[in-house]
Amino acid sequence: MSLASLTKDWAATSYGFLDASAKRELRRKMLKAIAVPGCQMPYASREVPMARGWGTGGLQVTLTLVNPASTVKVIDQGADDGVNAASIRRFISRVSGAAETWDTLSASIVQSRHRVPEEVMREDQILVLQVPNPEPLRGVEPNMSIARQMHADADYGKLWLTLYEQIVRKGRIMQGAAYPSMVNGRHVMTPSPIPRWDVPKLNMAKHLTFLSAGREKRLFAVPPFTRVEPLVFSDRPYQVEEHAHLTCRRSGLSGYFMNEIPQDNGGSTFEVSDSNLGIKAIQKAEGAPTEIGETWYRDGEYSA
């Protein structure tokens, strides 16, 4: 063993921004996350040139996965052109040389905040979700040591209680996003603040999903073909948002998750939340050659 064999040549930056030891730590944790679906694995969460809480967890997972042959799509609330999404996508491609895309079909890695794309993801694609609060028990148990013990005991009674209280008080379940979901029949996870509309897309999916919280320093995963069951009572079926009848004012699409645009007259109009799906629909209507993939929802009904 010589000094030369123990050292590396000088380089201005590491490939993909993260240094090799940070990547190895993430790799180890990502493998454990896959092995125990839905179980939160602690990790170091290094500094990246972005404030914690703006997608640093997802960014670190993406930077570990990315290589020059990757094609990266980043969305923020379904849109590719949001400031946060555009900045993250440009940063990833700058430090890795990976290609950028807006198209779900051509992406190898989709990093997302708050939405799962409407087009069905393939078995070779990876979805990376940015998670602000990875702990489904946070609302009922602020002490994280006790919450950990509750996960160890599969003690999720208090989550059922919050859902029950919502039904008693409001007549229906009010949980709009981050709907607690049982993964592989063992661990309850919060599927990040994706709407109820998107949770069925994770159940028995073809793609691999990583959920990473940079600020909270935890990551978890949903491997392909893994059961993800929203917590529901047997006499209260799971309901997604009632967007099936809404029509996008720009693309004319209907039956997908919509953004509500308030109007001056007190009413509102709607735009399809998966913005690139809307763009593709407009291009198709104008006669441009566009490929729209199969979608999880058809005519507003989940049908995968």
């Binding site: 090799a20 030891s21 730590e25 454990k32 092995a35 679906p37 996965l65």
Partner: protein, 178 residues
């Protein structure tokens, strides 16, 4: 304008090896191709000075210690266990760390050289759409011991390496010996 730091050979190799390991573990029973044959490439990809490693051959011990990891002779302390064979390895397997209910991630990762032929197994669980059958050269006693040690979510995760090809069996997979 920032110039992209080109990936060096090590980075490309580790990235590609990790993709193989990740997909192998995501789809148990699916063989994935690694850029380099053998166990040393996996050590290079996963292990560094934060790890405690058991390896059963001098070559592997050398490869692992080059990464800065602590090489131990005590399997029960190791988070990564490299075995060149499952023959006569019962003493080591029984000591594998399985984590705790509080910290399932403390379970060990077992990386073992085994031919992807021989004993028929039926796999089911996360990552597997329909129960699939594979061949893996691991003795039935190993699977019996695994079933005894792995009380989900506690347990250890296995990679079976046959030359450049790897099969992953996470603790979540149910294995039936046929």
């Amino acid at each position: 304008m920032l110039t992209v730091a080109p990936p060096d050979a090590i980075e490309l190799r580790c990235n590609s090896t990790f993709q193989a390991l990740m997909w192998a573990l995501s789809r148990p029973g699916d063989a994935r191709v690694m850029p380099e044959a053998g166990l040393a490439g996996i050590a290079e990809t996963l292990v560094d000075l934060e790890c405690t490693v058991f390896a059963d051959t001098p070559d592997l011990r050398e490869a692992v210690s080059a990464s800065g990891a602590l090489v131990t002779g005590d399997v029960s302390r190791a988070d990564h266990v490299f075995l060149s064979s499952l023959e006569n390895a019962a003493d080591q397997i029984v000591q594998l760390r399985c984590g705790s209910p509080l910290y399932p991630d403390d379970g060990a990762t077992l990386i073992v050289a085994a031919r992807h032929a021989g004993q028929r197994l039926r796999l089911s669980g996360p990552g597997i759409e329909e129960p699939t059958e594979i061949s893996l050269d691991a003795p039935p006693a190993f699977w019996a011991m695994r079933a005894m040690l792995c009380a989900y979510p506690e347990g250890f995760d296995c990679f079976f390496v046959d030359a450049g090809s790897v099969i992953g069996i996470p603790r979540s997979t149910k294995v039936e010996v046929l």
